[in-house]
């Protein structure tokens, strides 16, 4: 059989395996370190951090839906300064690459956040969350428009040499257009996808189940949308580094993303359903690869590309 190689390139980064955490689904890292060794992970993508501390939205913040969940956390975080001083040091001391996620209200804020992080030792990359649906004004979701996308990404690229991943929303007519805009503005790669804007109503109380009204839909329910987005962008943008996510739970799901064209795959909501979801998926990859002709998972990327009907 011989040994197999799970390592992948993600632009300039090399990860020991393709499975990473999804932003907002891993807290400080300490919580999950109770269950498994963080060095099991390809990388940690941290919760989006903002310039100022942010209390987040009032509860209820979560509603389960069929094979999915809605969340309206509202980017609760201690703000960049506290985060860099209090939470980040522990994480960068673990044996795992750290990708910091940032969220701003304006392009300038994105620039500010990137400046604050560019010299933090141990950071592997930035993920620029320009697609959080839990904002008051739908008009300010940067990733809904090419212009705003470019503005936020170039604000980051201008001040920071770290690799940059632009996190995009599927709630657009053509995600390849937005991906192009991000890359043209200086993004190293893209993270596909953030949650879909959704809503659920409790018919007994006749009120939205989330205090905020709307929220972001995640989990297995959205995986077909995510796979499609990854496949589209892989085809439209050639070799651009892609972190695929949205409903990945198992090793099979991770493979589905990789075959669709993802270099790395983030697992978010599935961790809520099973704290061991990520280590189980990594183990599964090793077992699966042993049964394949390829010796390296990197060779599997995009192999579903040939037309089905060909």
């Amino acid at each position: 059989m011989g040994e197999v190689d799970l390592s992948v390139r993600l632009g300039p980064l090399r990860l020991r395996n393709p499975v990473v955490t999804a932003s907002g689904c891993f807290a400080s890292g300490r919580e999950m370190a109770r269950f498994f060794d963080l060095s099991t992970l390809g990388a940690v993508v941290t919760k989006s951090v903002t310039v100022e501390p942010c209390a987040g939205l009032p509860p209820p913040r979560m509603a389960e839906t069929d094979s999915g969940m809605l969340n309206a956390i509202g980017l609760q975080n201690p703000g960049i300064d506290t985060w860099v001083e209090r939470d980040l040091p522990w994480l960068v001391d673990q044996d795992v690459p750290v990708i910091a996620s940032i969220a701003g209200k304006t392009a300038d804020e994105y620039g500010l956040l990137a400046k604050r992080l560019r010299d933090v030792p141990g950071l592997a990359a930035l993920e620029v969350n320009i697609s959080c649906p839990n904002v008051e004004d739908r008009g300010i979701v940067f990733a809904c428009r090419t212009g705003a996308t470019a503005a936020a990404i170039s604000a980051v690229a201008q001040v920071c040499d770290l690799p940059i991943f632009a996190k995009l929303t599927p709630d657009v007519a053509d995600i390849t257009e937005i991906a192009h805009a991000a890359v043209d503005a200086g993004a190293t790669g893209v993270s596909l996808i953030n949650t879909l804007l959704g809503m659920a109503i409790d018919v007994t109380t006749r009120r939205p189940k989330l205090a905020a009204g709307t929220g972001g839909l995640s989990g297995p329910a959205i995986r077909p949308v995510a796979i499609r987005a990854v496949h589209q962008v892989r085809h439209a943008l050639g070799d651009v580094p892609i972190i695929g996510l949205g409903g990945a739970c198992t090793c099979t799901d991770v493979l589905e993303f990789i075959m669709a064209g993802a270099d790395a795959v983030a697992i978010g909501t599935a961790t809520f359903a099973d704290p061991m979801a990520i280590p189980a998926a990594v183990e599964g990859l090793t077992r699966w690869l042993r049964g394949q002709e390829e010796r390296a998972i990197a060779q599997v990327r995009g192999t579903a590309d040939t037309e089905r009907t060909a």
Binding site: R34, P60, E64, F272
Partner: protein, 273 residues
């Protein structure tokens, strides 16, 4: 944040499910969890009902440490709880636990008032037994809307010196709210109060104890996504901002919660059970 290394993601075996009033008592062999658990903590159980995704949190209602068994008292409210109570003996259950912060035992021997609503009484029954064993005086107040919704406290003498039952409709025990019974028993300020039940009941208990200047711990019940501290959905407004009830709770000092910001705003919402 309490990051307790004793927690594990494990698999237990259902060894019995028995009716307990309108609830079900599910006994699960899961030695790691049973040995480490204290009253007030909970487990998150994977349910395999169609369309469901997340584990369901249930308070641990007691353990049999020698046998490595833990008990849950489950109210059937939706697909997940219905699935759980319908499982056959020997079913393997994936679960995480023991989770969260449990009740604090008082430093000195004294009087303890345990106030529970509906199935919330189950966890207090276990706490009461521990308090009694540690030499405290224990009074257990158990309330519900009707007789059927009362949790059937079984071993009265081993869980509390006194057990008072209340129903809103008077169909069993004292007529009225369990919080009325609490008011009646607040002879002095030296008792420690523990409460477990629906949020409006906890809010009422918090109000009463605050006015009486007593220490009160409540086990809150917010919707949970992950149950392990990573999703930020289960938050409760506290004087220090939103705290995650799954890891900073579920047991919290009642005086630290900003009850007026709990949704819907409570302290007067007295419906329970």
């Amino acid at each position: 944040m309490t990051v307790d290394a004793a927690v594990s993601a494990t698999t237990g075996t259902l060894i019995a499910t028995r009716p307990a009033g309108r609830y079900h008592r599910c006994s699960i062999a899961a030695p790691d969890v049973a040995t480490a658990a204290v009253p007030g903590q909970f487990v998150a159980v994977e349910v395999q009902a169609p369309g469901t995704l997340l584990r369901r949190p249930f308070a641990i209602a007691g353990v049999d440490t020698a046998a490595g068994v833990l008990h849950l008292v489950v109210a059937t409210v939706g697909a997940g709880s219905a699935w759980l109570v319908a499982q056959a003996v020997s079913t393997r259950l994936r679960l995480t636990g023991p989770l969260g912060r449990g009740f604090t035992m008082p430093a000195d021997p004294g009087r303890c008032l345990l106030v529970g609503g509906g199935y919330g009484v189950a966890a207090l029954e276990w706490l009461g037994a521990r308090l009694l064993a540690a030499g405290h005086r224990v009074e257990l107040l158990s309330g519900a809307a009707t007789a059927q919704a009362l949790y059937p406290v079984t071993r009265h003498d081993t869980v509390a010196g006194t057990v008072v039952e209340t129903t809103e409709d008077g169909s069993s025990g004292q007529r009225g709210l369990v919080t009325d019974a609490l008011g009646d028993r607040l002879r002095d300020g030296d008792a420690m109060v523990y409460a477990c039940g629906p949020m409006p009941m906890l809010a009422a208990v918090a109000g009463i104890t605050r006015r009486a200047g007593m220490t009160c711990e409540v086990a809150v019940e917010e919707h949970m996504g992950c149950s392990v501290g990573v999703c930020m959905t289960c938050v409760v407004p506290t004087v220090h901002g939103y705290a995650r009830s799954c890891i900073d709770g579920p047991v919290m000092d009642a005086s630290r919660i900003r009850w007026e910001s709990v949704d819907p705003p409570r302290e007067d919402g007295l419906r329970h059970g």
